[in-house]
Symmetry: C2
Subunit: 461 residues, 2 copies
Amino acid sequence: MKELKEKEDKVLVSFRDGVYDITEFVHAHPGGEEKIRLATGSSIEPFWNMYRHHLTAVTGRLLETFRVGNLIRAEGEVLDLNDPYANDPERHPALIVYIQKPFNAETPVALLGDRFLTSNELFFVRNHLPVPKVDPKNYKLEVSLEGKDPIYFTLEELQTKFPIYEVTATIQCAGNRRREMNQSKEVKGIAWQGGAISNATWTGPKLRDVLLYAGIPESEVDKTIHHIQFEGLDADMEKSYGASIPAQKVLNPSSEVILAFKMNGETLPLDHGYPIRAVVPGTVGARSVKWLHKVIASAQESPSFWQHKDYKGFGPYTDWHNIDYTQVPAIQELPVQSLITSPPPSAKRVVLDADGLLPIHGYAWSGGGRGIVRVDVSLDDGKTWEPATIHPNQQTYGKVWAWTQWEHRFKVPEGVKEVDLVVKAVDSSYNTQPESWGPVWNVRGVLANAWYKIHLKVDEE
Amino acid sequence: MKELKEKEDKVLVSFRDGVYDITEFVHAHPGGEEKIRLATGSSIEPFWNMYRHHLTAVTGRLLETFRVGNLIRAEGEVLDLNDPYANDPERHPALIVYIQKPFNAETPVALLGDRFLTSNELFFVRNHLPVPKVDPKNYKLEVSLEGKDPIYFTLEELQTKFPIYEVTATIQCAGNRRREMNQSKEVKGIAWQGGAISNATWTGPKLRDVLLYAGIPESEVDKTIHHIQFEGLDADMEKSYGASIPAQKVLNPSSEVILAFKMNGETLPLDHGYPIRAVVPGTVGARSVKWLHKVIASAQESPSFWQHKDYKGFGPYTDWHNIDYTQVPAIQELPVQSLITSPPPSAKRVVLDADGLLPIHGYAWSGGGRGIVRVDVSLDDGKTWEPATIHPNQQTYGKVWAWTQWEHRFKVPEGVKEVDLVVKAVDSSYNTQPESWGPVWNVRGVLANAWYKIHLKVDEE
């Protein structure tokens, strides 16, 4: 921690294995700026043990938004058997890991373009808390109309009592591509490179069927029932992970929100919510709650930190000094997005193919079931455009939950040795991606969907 | 017409009272370029009378996209009593008229910001054909499953047989703000300034209820029924106006597509579809078919010209030489939009208010029922932004069909004498408006939703 002390313009602290830059937060500390400055360059754990109201998931999550690095443990260190992360599974070594505890890792972008379905092992993982240990025999899903007695479903009941659906849906983290936004101007959070998005086929009953069976009155949607709250079994010091979505998204007869127990035909993996997760197609990943154990039909949004103090899209004029979470709604549907997966973000050079053309491919996706009608690509930084070929994904208008893969081959003009590749997509509402980062920059680094760009040298083979 | 002849680089022709620049079309003329050039500088009516296959609505509408002006009739000219436009009503003199026949006029932008509901007299009018004359006693709406016997509803039945709904919905022309796109690079079509959008409360039965009553099988939606086709009573030489929308948009139980017989509490005006029009909230105006007389549930889209050869959003690389209508889907939902209505587009100067602040206000809207979550405004051409105050419009999440009005007062920095006002809105899917025209420019000049800008000199009062 000595090095931390030396960076005197910054207020750096550690907590457990994390290093946090809380410079921008100190002035807003409810206990006063002076007290929090006492922790500069050291662990805040002793302070929090003294002022125990800090030991809540809410404070923990707020702190997490300031993480800038991790403490490296000494070799041979003994594992803590009481480690809440002891149930975390082995992960595929190809995943790009940003945080070990809780586990946060993206799919390498280069792998995303290769298959329409992302394999379970390579599907990005965004955990907020330790992976909970669930005994499938004792698992119960609690379903209630707020204020009324709940009804419980066993895993077997969820798997056999209702019609079972398969939904192919892309799930994207609100912070996907934060790295690029951060490069334009600093934001807080994991610097996802574009691989915090994956696509899978999910299997399970419709949540609508389960709620109707449990007696949730459909006629009350948009009257007294406005939100469907979810609670996961993943929990920290005080609270579980939770989120909610608009009630009509679930109780609408055409809803395809499901309670998934399979992912790409296999038992739901531990990291993806075993034994049951919500899958809310077209909506930010944070609402597809994993290890689901409670569903509440309510007039209110989920009371969770993640619904009220995170996953919100602020304007470029909001910073840590004037932030007011109550003024901005929780993110639900995500905007149109696209990325070049080949060449990958790390590429510096590209070799023309046998026909002397420059091949590229990638993904495009939009929230709310809006399909992709066009993908425009450029090799001169957006001055001129060409249409990419899109692979139709066969989903129905308004229910295009899966991404669209696309490809293109550029004729590179004679003498051009460097190119600025750009991709932008257009969804079925003709919304398109913003040109640059400044106007969509936001303090939490979410909703990063400006034109994707990559600069390359061209080698003729 | 003499002046037309003189512009030798252009191929200008007239037809009835219109003047058309068909320079970009001549090479694509199916009958050959030489023949069509014979009409240069003159009326094409004699040619079309000879080659009578031109006398169709399809050709007429294509020609209309090239209109650049109108022939001025001599004073005292006698009205043609067989004029198909004889049923056209008197219009409010405040409307800004672009074409008299068919009538195309926008609401002055300065008036749009003053009220949440646009009055019937000032609501923009986009007619494709003459206003048809309908005897309400003989009016019948024909409803059919394609290939089956139709069922008919009288006006009285539509008004009394079903539950009646009120829906407040903004209707926007696909070409709204084409003038700005045209200024960046020429496009074809009426140069709407930003007033081809208005908001009203519409009253009538849900089309879903009428279709179910007529025996359209809900269970076939997305199986054999994919589109609901509309046909209007407005007709030209050969065909009626027609359009279609995705079937689930109508037959979904939460659908709010209605058959309106009232507009803002009054009988539907002649110009807005008397006695019955479709109102398809959240969708481009072209699909809210006026003077509705046929509804067909079908596997196919409407066969009309306007569904297949117009109202399509091409990429910036498509021009009249490489256009292929079959490659692009028909526009349905529109993207997020916003405009400053005060100061109006014509303003050159602005006077600070009593507090020394610069007040602005305007509208924002998005397709598909997505509400407006944020309106960002700038007085330095988008370098920095401030949040505008939005007036909540009280509509339900996912069914925000009406526009959102907003306002802001800028503190103009000392010494600043000129400002570049900009507005951009963000919808509930966090889609935002594109920064500039180039990347969204399209040959038909539709879907114009780049940042709205206005340059003003500032006078201190």
